[in-house]
């Protein structure tokens, strides 16, 4: 099955969600069936969800070894974190 049914990664935008979130993966012979399977495996078919399926093979991922190079520079420049600005009361949840 793994030969004929490649692995797909599934991203779902829930009814009240603003962005697609990665929810898991599944096997399917092609995109159309991957979408069908994603509905059955991950959504229980709530109305109004968006589904993206992407062949796992098409995803390029950063490697764990690069973590330092990618993220450290931001972490040790405290002035980059917008945490020192007084915010007016009226602005909630920023």
């Amino acid at each position: 099955m793994s030969k004929e049914w490649p692995l797909w990664e599934v991203f779902i935008r829930s009814q009240h969600g603003l962005a697609h979130k990665h929810v898991g993966s599944l096997h399917a012979p092609d995109g159309e069936m991957a979408i069908n399977n994603a509905r059955d495996v991950y959504t229980r078919r709530n109305e109004g969800v968006g589904i993206w399926v992407v062949r796992a093979a098409d995803i390029v991922s950063s490697s764990p070894g690069d973590k330092g190079a990618l993220f450290e520079p931001a972490n040790n420049k405290v002035y980059r974190h917008p945490t020192f600005f007084p915010m007016p009361e009226e602005v909630k949840n920023l």
Binding site: H27, E32, N36, N37, D40, V41, R44, R45, E47
Partner: protein
Amino acid sequence: MSDKATYVRRLGDNALILSQRLSEWCGKGPALEEDMALTNVALDLIGQARLWLAYAAELEGAGRSEDQLAFLRDAHQFSNLLLVEQPNGNYADTLVRQFFFDAWHYFLLNELAKSSDPRIVEIALKSIKEVTYHVRRSGDLIVRLGDGTELSRRMVQQAVDQLWMYTGELFSSDAADQAMVQEGAAPATEMIRTQWLQHVQEILGEATLQTPPADAWMQSGGKQGKHTEHLGYLLAEMQFLQRAYPGASW
């Protein structure tokens, strides 16, 4: 029993028995994704069965609940179509049974959504959302398997040929059906048959499969409580708990 009670109970029985059959696949599907999909369809159908049977129990007016209708009737008191009680067989058998049923179910529900009975309209509209997906999915899989490997094609064709004789009953029409048509509560079965045949021929054609002759000999009796040998076994399993521990609940 009124014609409407009979008609509504039949709809409930179809959904209930097919749901029970599909549940038998749980954990045994050919792939995890298929396993989930089949059991999802089973859950959709059990939900629909509950709505129809609850309404049928009301119409019957004998103080029975949907649970009593489901768990305390014997085979001859069930009025489901013979198609839905057929054994799961192999995966092609299950899919073809589903495909025949879904197509019928879809066209019927679309008409029932225009029923003169508001309760029927309500249940039909709720069910259509689910059944629209069922019919799309089973049609898609029939095409994939028919137009797949030599083996898959042969297996689907075999299933089509074997189950064909149970499709005539989908469009049989007795006194209860006619009474429902009279009062505008249900569509004429002939109309559904036309839509169903067109859809089935189209999908089977796309799947490179032969559609058996429309005028072939057909088996019927389910609607009148005359069932194949399979229903008794299915009920024995489904009703065991209520029979062994009457009134058990959790």
